[in-house]
Structure formats: structure tokens, C-alpha cells
């Protein structure tokens, strides 16, 4: 009896030199995803990233909930960056429902968004450090992240999943005396992350492991459609806070930090510059924010949209440009919600970055892509 293959599958001839290795999905070094690597000795010949292990159906779930009750579950894809992952949805819903947001609410949103960006990057930096065997770089960001989490807790009442942004503003006003506490802790946080340069970024051991590994050229970065820190590390000056300012980013002075090398080292250092820039933005926003005023427009309990229309909004999240496409058909629920996430777009570069690298360089290249599996699968 001969074995008949199901249609669509083909047997692969096994080359004796090439070994196939599964990294993940249970391996802690890959997150919730599998990377199928083919190795010849110590060198990677081919690599096939296999996401999809944490698919939750967020987009389908959004079709059965109204514009307000969609908020808690749409921030679950990236709980450390929950304000930014919700931001495009809220901006889109505001345009569909025809809401004008108060000025103070816009500034509160910018502060929350920048704090969340730092929280996400610190978490990512802790993981990046521990997978390069640098346990100080695991402990320090994990501890200093607490300063910002404490601010978010004072501001929103929750440590990670805030559910703070709503169509029409934010849920609650800032607590009394928040500006002083925020300024003090952000200043101290900035002083702390500047210390990371000596211990991590100028460390010869880190430089030896990450310099000239996984080089992504400028043309390839644009061709693959990568975003965020991956794109800026390859020499492309592209940041949505500058190119397509949303809310009050056009009134603030935002600088983007670009590195030309395109290797793992540049990709790990650009988020660190982003954190320093976020501290600047928070200080500016605290200064320019109106001292009083409403932070939320009062809505009807179940707001309805006007008719069949669609909107696409995108923001700069901790990983890159994050878009949300909403189609509405004059009901209380959206007809379709599509999230266009930066993690999935950055992953596309991984096979080309790993080809020809040593297997030992895989963690440094893979984690430098700023990839978050849950967001890519949504």
C-alpha cells in the first residue's frame, strides 16, 4: 500500500547536511511563535517564521460589541502598550461618530501614550537584555518601569490594561497634584535610562554580539514595509508623530532619531533614543496643557454612526505605525474593524536577516525586530 499525500502537501527531500530546528512555540526565546530554522553546522541557511499560536479573533469580536464595550478587549493585543494599541480605534470612532474632543483631553492622551511607549520599550529592553545574557539589563528596566507604571496607575486606576481612552476624550481627569509627581518621576526616569548607556550600549560585549549582525539595508527596509524603530534604524526618517500628526503632536516639538547602520545594535538603540524623546514630549505636554477644562464629551449610552462609511487612522506605537480601519453601517456595532499591526510587518524581514547568520545570533536579531507575537496574531 502506498501512502497518498493529501492535496497541497509535498514530501521534501532531506539533505544530510541540513538540519531543521524548531525554535518555539514553547521555547522562551521565541515568545508565542515558532521559528523553523534550517542550519548547516552553526550557520542558518533558511528560516521560516510561523506566527499564529495566539490568535484570539479580536477583529471578529469587535463586530459584536458596541463602540464603548470594544475598548477593554481591543487593548489586549499589547497590554504593555495598551493606550497606543487603542489609540487609532478611538480616533477612528470619533470621526465616525462626529465628536470634537476637548483640548485638555488631547494633552492627557498624549501624556498617557508617551508613558505607555516608555513602559513598552522598557519591557522589551528587559527581554532583549536577558536573551543576550545580560541580567543587569533585565533587572534595571524591569525596576525602573515601575516609576512609569505608578504614574499610569495614578492617572488611570490600572497598572497595565487601562481602558482609559474613549471616543470623546479620556475616562477621568488627572488626579490632583499629578503634574508635579509626573515631572519629578519622568526626570528621574530620564536620568536612570541615561545610565544604561555605560552598562549596556557602550558595553564591548554587547557591541561584539550585535554590531554587524542582521543588517537590513535602507532599500530592503522600505521594500518590506517595515515600520517604527526597525525602519528608523535603517536610516529612514519616518515617524507618524511628525509626518501625520494626530491630536496635539503638531503643537509639540518632536524629533526623530535615525541610525544608518541597520544592524541589531542600531535596532536596539533607536528605542532607547525614543524613550529620551518621549520624556521631552511629556515635559512639553505638561507645560502646554490647559490647566482646567473638560476631558470628556458626554455621549449617549449607545452611540450610533450616521451611515455606511469607513475610516482609517494610524498612530505611532512603541513598535511602529499601528493602523485601524473601521467600517460602520449605522448600527451601534461597527461592521468591520481591521487592525494593521507593526509587529506583523516587521516580522517579514526576519528570514532575510537571519540567512547566513550563526544560530547564536538568532536571539539578538529576532528580539531587535521589536516583535510582539500576540499583536501580530491579534
Amino acid at each position: 500500500m502506498t501512502f497518498v499525500l493529501p492535496p497541497g502537501l509535498a514530501l521534501q527531500k532531506v539533505d544530510e547536511r541540513i538540519m531543521t530546528l524548531n525554535v518555539g512555540p514553547q521555547h522562551p526565546g521565541s515568545g508565542h511563535m515558532r521559528i523553523v530554522v534550517q542550519i548547516d553546522g552553526d550557520y542558518i541557511v533558511a528560516c521560516d517564521p510561523d506566527p499564529g499560536y495566539v490568535h484570539r479573533g479580536e477583529e471578529k469580536m469587535a463586530e459584536y460589541r458596541n463602540y464603548i464595550t470594544n475598548i477593554p478587549h481591543l487593548e489586549r493585543p499589547v497590554i504593555h502598550d495598551s493606550c497606543n494599541v487603542l489609540y487609532p480605534y478611538v480616533l477612528g470612532a470619533e470621526e465616525l461618530l462626529g465628536i470634537e474632543v476637548p483640548e485638555r483631553a488631547k494633552y492627557v492622551r498624549v501624556i498617557a501614550s508617551e508613558l505607555n511607549r516608555c513602559i513598552y520599550i522598557m519591557y522589551w529592553l528587559a527581554i532583549y537584555g536577558i536573551f543576550l545574557g545580560h541580567s543587569t539589563m533585565f533587572m534595571w528596566p524591569a525596576g525602573d518601569r515601575e516609576l512609569l507604571i505608578d504614574l499610569m496607575e495614578k492617572m488611570t486606576g490600572a497598572r497595565v490594561t487601562h481602558a482609559h481612552f474613549v471616543p470623546g476624550g479620556v475616562r477621568n481627569d488627572l488626579p490632583p497634584n499629578f503634574e508635579d509627581v509626573c515631572l519629578r518621576q519622568v526626570n528621574y526616569f530620564e536620568k536612570r535610562i541615561k545610565e544604561y548607556a555605560a552598562v549596556f550600549y557602550d558595553n564591548p560585549i554587547l557591541i561584539a554580539r550585535t554590531k554587524d549582525t542582521g543588517i537590513l539595508s535602507r532599500q530592503d527596509a522600505i521594500r518590506y514595509g517595515t515600520t517604527g524603530s526597525v525602519l528608523r534604524a535603517s536610516g529612514v526618517d519616518y515617524d507618524l508623530r511628525v509626518k501625520e500628526p494626530y491630536d496635539v503632536y503638531d503643537e509639540l516639538d518632536v524629533h526623530t532619531n535615525v541610525m544608518k547602520e541597520g544592524d541589531s545594535y542600531a535596532r536596539s538603540k533607536v528605542p532607547w533614543f525614543d524613550m529620551l524623546e518621549s520624556c521631552n514630549i511629556i515635559r512639553q505636554a505638561l507645560q502646554k496643557m490647559p490647566k482646567s477644562g473638560s476631558v470628556r464629551v458626554k455621549l449617549k449610552p449607545n452611540p450610533k454612526t450616521k451611515g455606511l462609511e469607513s475610516v482609517y487612522k494610524r498612530v505611532e506605537s512603541g513598535r511602529g505605525s499601528l493602523g485601524c480601519y473601521i467600517v460602520s453601517d449605522a448600527k451601534v456595532e461597527p461592521y468591520r474593524v481591521k487592525l494593521s499591526v507593526p509587529s506583523f510587518r516587521n516580522l517579514i524581514a526576519l528570514p532575510n536577516l537571519l540567512r547566513g547568520e550563526k544560530l547564536g545570533n538568532m536571539p539578538s536579531v529576532y528580539w531587535s525586530l521589536n516583535y510582539w507575537p500576540v499583536e501580530a496574531d491579534r
Binding site: N66, I68, N70, K154, A158, N172, A198, P204, S294, R296
Partner: protein
């Protein structure tokens, strides 16, 4: 910069921290201080009041049994069920009040935003662990009790670093 200099600088920046105070919080002995009395919502202005989103608190003399909190939770966690209460309140003709299952609740606070009668607030109580699933279901009588939460520790920043003091 040479390799040796770089390694010495990296070690030195870590060694400086031997003299600084401990930043971590010894949790069961020390507890974090929060802003305010928990998340609250003012339906007349439509804006909330900042505070921790912890365990709920139900005011029996305000609850009318309108089920709006339960409807708000339907799309989120389905943690709120309306149950019969033995007591009779003037404003609550049906004598039903919310019962909250903390095994399902995600602490988003949308039920508090939905209440138009100032009856449901959130408190600073976050220690809700239980040995059984049934222990996580809070009846209206349990939700009426205002919890005592110890708050003694806050982040303090000085020249020598940050501590939880």
C-alpha cells in the same frame, strides 16, 4: 574606547549602585499608596474621578435595579448578574441588585460609567484571592462593605535614588 575600558566602565556603573537604597517594595508588609478612594463616576458631568479600579462597592440605598451595569458588562466580561435581595428599598421595586463574579471581571470600570444613580463605585481593595471559585462571587451584601486597605508606601525620589518609603 578599548575593550578593557568599556568593561571597567560598565562594571563601575553597576558598582555605584551598591551604596544606593533598595527600590523594591516588600509587598505583604508594605503596601502601595493610591490616589483617592477608588475610581468613581459623576453621571451629571460624564467624567470620572481618578482612583484605583479595584473591588466594587454598592450603595444599597441608591441602587434601583435598572440593570444598566449588567448590560454594560455583557460585551466585556459578563461578570455581573442581577440577583434578588431580601431587603426592601423604596427606590428598588424589583428588589434586584448586581452580584459580581471576580473570576470574570477585568476591572475596566465600564459598569461604574453606566450607573446613573451614584450607586456603584470602585475601591482600593485589590487583594481578592480565594481558595474556591465560589469565594470570588461577591453578593450585594458583601459589596456593601467598605474595605479597609492599608496604604503606607509611596515612591520617593532623592539624590541617592528612588525608594518606596
Amino acid at each position: 574606547m578599548g575593550t578593557a575600558t568599556g568593561i571597567i566602565r560598565a562594571l563601575n556603573s553597576g558598582i555605584k549602585h551598591i551604596a544606593t537604597k533598595r527600590f523594591t517594595l516588600r509587598y505583604p508588609e508594605e503596601k502601595l499608596k493610591f490616589v483617592g478612594d477608588g475610581y468613581q463616576f459623576d453621571p451629571s458631568t460624564g467624567v470620572g474621578i481618578a482612583g484605583l479600579k479595584g473591588r466594587h462597592m454598592l450603595f444599597h440605598d441608591h441602587c434601583t435595579g435598572c440593570q444598566l451595569c449588567s448590560i454594560a458588562c455583557e460585551g466585556v466580561a459578563e461578570a455581573i448578574a442581577m440577583v434578588k435581595v431580601p431587603e426592601e428599598q423604596k427606590q428598588n421595586k424589583k428588589s434586584i441588585m448586581p452580584q459580581i463574579d471576580y473570576g470574570k471581571c477585568v476591572f475596566c470600570g465600564l459598569c461604574v460609567d453606566a450607573c446613573p444613580f451614584y450607586a456603584l463605585y470602585m475601591t482600593n481593595d485589590y487583594e481578592l484571592s480565594s481558595f474556591s471559585k465560589e469565594g470570588l462571587i461577591y453578593t450585594p451584601a458583601q459589596l456593601q462593605v467598605k474595605p479597609y486597605v492599608a496604604q503606607d508606601s509611596e515612591i520617593q525620589i532623592s539624590d541617592r535614588g528612588a525608594t518606596h518609603g
